[in-house]
C-alpha cells in the first residue's frame, strides 16, 4: 500500500506548518475579531442608525460577517498560491528538491492544492467560530456558510498559483495583491452590495470568484435567496479551481523540468 504522491507533498507542507501553527492559528482568531469589532460593531452602529430597516433586513454586522468569512478565505488562498509557490520555485527551491524524488509535477501541484485547501478550511473554521461568538449566526448556519468560502479560497489558490508560476520577478506579487486581491476584497460585495457600484463596474464584480461565494454565504446567514442561482455559482467556482490547477502545471514543468 503506497501513499499517493500528492499526499506525500501534503504531508511535507503539514510538517512545515507544525513549526508555526500556534502563531498562525492565533492570528486566524485575531483577524476576524478585530474586523468584526471595528467594522461590524463600530462602523455598523453608524450604518444601522442611518438604515433603520438594515441591509437585506438585517444589522450591518450580520450583513458583513459572511462576506468577511469569504474574503478571509479568498486572501488565504491567494497567499498560499503566491508566497509558498515563489519560495518553492525560486527562493528556497524546495520544489526542485521534491522533484528529485518519485514526486512529479502534477502530484506536486495537486499536493500543493490539497494543502491550500486545508489552510483555507482552517481559517474559515476559525472565522465561523468567531461568527458564532459574535452571535451573528448559529453553529449550523456558520458551518454551511463555510462551504462557499472554501470554494472561493481554493479558486484563488489555484488562480494565484498559475499566476505565480508564470512570473519570474517576485516583485510582481505585491503588485498582484495591490491591484487584484485588495480591490477584490473591497469591491466584491463584502462591505456593501455591488448594486452600489457604478454600472460599468458591476459586471466586473460579477466575474470575480469572490462575489459568488459572498452571495451564497450571505444567503445562508441572512436567509435571503442569492442573486445568482447557487448551482451556477458553484459550477463557476469549480471551473476556476480546475482551470487554475491545470494552468499551473505547464509553467511548473517549464521551470522545474526543462
Amino acid at each position: 500500500m503506497t501513499t499517493p504522491l500528492s499526499l506525500r507533498v501534503f504531508e511535507s507542507e503539514a510538517r512545515l506548518y507544525r513549526n508555526i501553527w500556534r502563531s498562525s492559528i492565533a492570528s486566524s482568531f485575531l483577524n476576524p475579531i478585530l474586523y468584526l469589532a471595528a467594522m461590524g460593531v463600530g462602523l455598523g452602529s453608524l450604518v444601522d442608525t442611518n438604515l433603520p430597516g438594515g441591509i437585506d433586513g438585517v444589522s450591518y454586522l450580520t450583513f458583513l460577517a459572511p462576506g468577511l468569512l469569504v474574503a478571509t478565505a479568498m486572501q488565504t488562498g491567494a497567499a498560499e498560491g503566491a508566497w509558498k509557490v515563489m519560495a518553492g520555485l525560486k527562493w528556497t527551491k524546495t520544489y526542485h528538491a521534491k522533484l528529485s524524488t518519485p514526486i512529479g509535477v502534477p502530484s506536486l501541484v495537486f499536493g500543493h492544492m490539497l494543502w491550500s485547501g486545508a489552510r483555507v478550511l482552517m481559517v474559515s473554521i476559525v472565522f465561523a467560530m468567531v461568527m458564532v461568538a459574535f452571535r451573528v449566526a448559529p453553529v449550523s448556519e456558520s458551518l454551511v456558510a463555510l462551504g462557499p468560502a472554501f470554494l472561493v479560497g481554493l479558486a484563488m489558490a489555484a488562480a494565484t498559483t498559475a499566476f505565480t508560476a508564470r512570473v519570474q520577478d517576485p516583485a510582481a506579487l505585491p503588485l498582484y495583491f495591490r491591484f487584484v486581491v485588495i480591490p477584490m476584497f473591497l469591491f466584491s460585495g463584502t462591505f456593501f452590495p455591488i448594486s452600489q457600484l457604478p454600472d460599468w463596474l458591476q459586471p466586473v464584480a460579477l466575474l470575480t470568484p469572490m462575489y459568488h461565494g459572498v452571495e451564497m454565504s450571505r444567503a445562508v446567514v441572512v436567509g435571503v435567496s442569492p442573486a445568482v442561482a447557487p448551482w451556477i455559482s458553484i459550477t463557476y467556482l469549480l471551473a476556476w479551481i480546475a482551470a487554475g490547477t491545470l494552468l499551473a502545471i505547464r509553467p511548473f514543468r517549464k521551470r522545474l523540468t526543462p
Binding site: 506525500r8 507533498v9 512545515l16 528556497t92 527551491k93 528538491a97 518519485p102 526543462p258
Partner: protein
C-alpha cells in the same frame, strides 16, 4: 542489461541552443564515474537527464535498466541526487529535513529514524541534528544534502559539483566520506571542474567541452595519453618572452607560450631544464613537475575563459 547507465547519441537542446550534443558513454555498477569540464560544457544538463528531471531531446538513455522519460518516478525512487545548489528546507532542523525527504519516498517513519541516525553519524552531523538548516555552515549543508541523497539507499548517487565553494577542510571531509561510499560499492557519478577531485574520486571519467565528450579514460590513462610525463614551467619578467618564443619552441616536443610564462611538455624534465641554460635563457623561476589532469584538461578544453 549490464551497464548501469547507457547513453547513445544523447542530446539536449533548449530552443536553438545545444547543451549536450550527441554524447555516448556507459557507467558500470560500482564504478565512480566523473564528468569533467568547464562551466557550460553540458555536465549539469547530462546529470538532469540521468536524474529523470529533464526530458531528452534525441538519442537514447537507460539508467538502471529504466527509461527516464517513461519510468521517471520508478527511476527516481532508486536514485540519490546531490544538486549543485543546496535546496534544503531552511526553516526545518536537520532531522526534519531528512524525515521530510524520506517520506517523499514513502519510507515508514520508524525505518527512517534508524536510517537518519546512521546517516548523521556517517556524515558527522549528529551533534547538530536539532539545529535549523539556515544556521549551518556551507560544508555542513553540503554534508546534509549528501545525507539526504542517501536516505533511500540509492543504487546510484549523482553528485553535481559536490565541493564547489567549500573551504579545503570541508572538501577533504567530503572526499573522505565519498571515498568510503565508493568502497561500500555505491555507484557514484560526479561532475566537477576540480582536477584533484577527479583524480581522488573517479575510476573513470569523460572530459566534456562545448556539449561534446572530448576524451575518456581513467585519470592516469588520460594523463599518459594527452600529456607527456613531465612539465617544465618557466616564468620570465614581463615582455621578455615575446622575443624568445621561437627559441623556447625548439626546447621541447610541445610547448605552450602564455603571457609571461611558458610550459614545456617533455619526457625528461632534467634534460629540458639543462637545455634552457644551454640556450642562454635567464628565466625568473623554473619549476619541473609531473603532468596532472589539469594539463590534460587545459589542453583539451583550451585556455579561453568560459563565462
Amino acid at each position: 542489461m549490464s551497464h548501469l547507465i547507457e547513453a547513445r547519441g544523447l542530446t539536449k537542446r533548449f530552443g536553438d541552443f545545444t547543451a549536450v550534443d550527441g554524447i555516448d558513454f556507459t557507467v558500470e555498477p560500482g564504478e565512480s564515474f566523473g564528468f569533467l569540464g568547464p562551466n557550460g560544457a553540458g555536465k549539469t544538463s547530462t546529470m538532469r537527464m540521468i536524474g529523470a528531471v529533464s526530458p531528452i531531446t534525441a538519442g537514447s538513455l537507460t539508467v538502471l535498466g529504466l527509461d527516464p522519460m517513461k519510468q521517471g518516478p520508478q527511476l527516481r525512487s532508486r536514485l540519490g541526487v546531490v544538486p549543485q545548489e543546496d535546496n534544503l528546507d531552511p526553516d526545518l532542523t536537520i532531522d526534519d529535513n531528512l524525515m521530510m525527504y524520506g517520506r517523499y519516498f514513502d519510507l515508514p517513519r520508524s525505518a527512517l529514524r534508524g536510517r537518519i541516525d546512521e546517516l548523521l553519524d556517517f556524515l558527522q552531523l549528529t551533534e547538530k541534528r536539532k539545529e535549523r538548516v539556515d544556521s549551518l555552515s556551507g560544508g555542513m549543508k553540503r554534508r546534509l544534502t549528501i545525507a539526504r541523497g542517501l536516505i533511500n539507499e540509492p543504487d546510484l548517487l549523482i553528485l553535481d559539483e559536490p565541493t564547489t565553494g567549500l573551504d579545503p577542510q570541508a572538501r577533504h571531509i567530503l572526499w573522505d566520506r565519498l571515498y568510503r561510499l565508493k568502497q561500500q560499492g555505491v555507484t557514484l557519478i560526479i561532475t566537477t571542474h576540480y582536477m584533484d577531485e577527479a583524480e581522488q574520486l573517479c575510476d573513470r571519467l569523460v572530459v566534456m567541452d562545448k556539449a561534446k565528450i572530448v576524451a575518456e579514460g581513467s585519470p592516469v590513462s588520460l594523463i599518459s595519453e594527452h600529456a607527456p610525463r613531465e612539465v617544465v614551467e618557466v616564468r620570465f619578467r614581463p615582455g621578455v618572452l615575446d622575443g624568445i618564443a621561437d627559441v623556447i619552441e625548439t626546447l621541447a616536443p610541445r610547448t605552450e607560450i602564455l603571457a609571461d610564462r611558458a610550459l614545456l611538455y617533455t619526457d625528461d624534465a632534467e634534460k629540458t631544464v639543462a637545455g634552457i641554460g644551454a640556450a642562454g635563457l635567464e628565466p625568473e623561476t623554473i619549476l619541473a613537475r609531473r603532468s596532472s589532469l589539469e594539463d590534460v584538461f587545459l589542453r583539451l578544453t583550451g585556455r579561453t575563459l568560459v563565462e
